[in-house]
Amino acid sequence: MSFRQRTVLFKAFTSEATKFQTRFSLVRPRTEVALSSVLKVVERPHEDVRVVKERMPPFSFCWTKNHFKHEPAMFRHSYLGLSDRNKTSFARMLEFVGSFSRLEVVAEDGSSVLDSRGNQVTMACFIDTRYLVLSKDPLNLFGRFDLLLFFLCLTHAFY
């Protein structure tokens, strides 16, 4: 199951591993720190004492069909349903990506591609998902915004 963007901000992440299904293993927390990261404390009523605190995994560790009991639309959040804070965040993200310079489309020989009116054809620039997640220091990458844009220009020129 994959995510699809409702509002395109990120460049599509294309996996190089076409047969990733054949390479899976199991991971297991071996320390209390690791175990705590996949468990959360929940309270449930108890007959002897008022409540009992238990540590439960917040999500299933094995495959489950619970997801398929619901319509896909149930998992979406509409913009109108967002809190004011999330609406502000939403607008800030759009503004951030919208601030990227549009890329000039060039032909294979390096010449500019013009539209019927003779204007330079440009394309929107999005966040390069692959470069971002594989960066050892993504925050620093954003700090060097000029570098990010330079890289985006390069990658778009190739695609």
Binding site: F3, A17, S25, V27, R30, V33, Y79, G81, V133
Partner: protein, 189 residues
């Protein structure tokens, strides 16, 4: 034991669904629990026709199983991990997270990514670590996404991890709260 064998498969399933789903486990248990060999042979002779009837119902059981696993792709049900079949295939331990905190366990040849494993064993695709650069532990945001979707992490393709991680990075950079609601306003499944 006699009661179980002479009952109809449906009744057996009602008594113990997990045994009915996996007849091989049930047969194994039967052999272990039955120590008297003579009694066991007598059981086979007396109830061979009935066993045949049960075996004949395999096709129905298979279709039931197929119906039960409709939400899992055929490829997933059939795919054995290379890590369980080929010892020469190496998996890099350092990629998954702090090696003091997490360990990798290789699945058996009968295990599938969608199998039920022991407690706290989480099946994960190597590509999530190797290609996407994900490291354990799951962030609270990622855990909230799995919880909201009611999915196990490996039910999401590796690229989905990339989008979650990129989203988190952008939120951190812009100093925005990383919320599940915002993510699912931008993404859908």
């Amino acid at each position: 034991m006699f009661v179980v064998v002479t009952c109809s498969p449906v009744w057996v399933a009602a008594m113990s669904p997990e045994l009915f789903e996996n007849p091989f486990v049930w047969q194994s248990d039967l052999l272990v629990s039955e120590r008297d060999e003579c009694e066991f042979l007598g059981l086979i002779l007396l109830h061979f026709p009935l066993l045949g009837l049960i075996m004949a119902s395999d096709s129905g059981r298979d279709s039931d199983a197929a119906h039960e696993h409709f939400w899992i792709g055929k490829e997933t049900l059939e795919t054995v991990s290379l890590f369980s079949t080929n010892g020469a295939v190496k998996i890099s331990r350092c990629l998954i997270g702090r090696k003091e905190d997490w360990e990798i366990i290789l699945p058996t040849t009968s295990g599938r990514v969608c199998s039920r494993f022991s407690a706290n064993h989480i099946p994960m695709y190597e590509a999530v670590f190797q290609e996407v650069g994900f490291n354990l532990p799951f962030s609270p945001f990622q855990a909230s996404v799995f919880e909201w979707l009611e999915l196990c992490p490996s039910q999401l393709r590796p690229d989905s991890f990339a989008y979650m991680m990129a989203f988190e990075s952008v939120c951190r950079f812009l100093r925005l709260p990383t919320t599940r609601e915002l993510f699912f306003a931008l993404f859908t499944i």
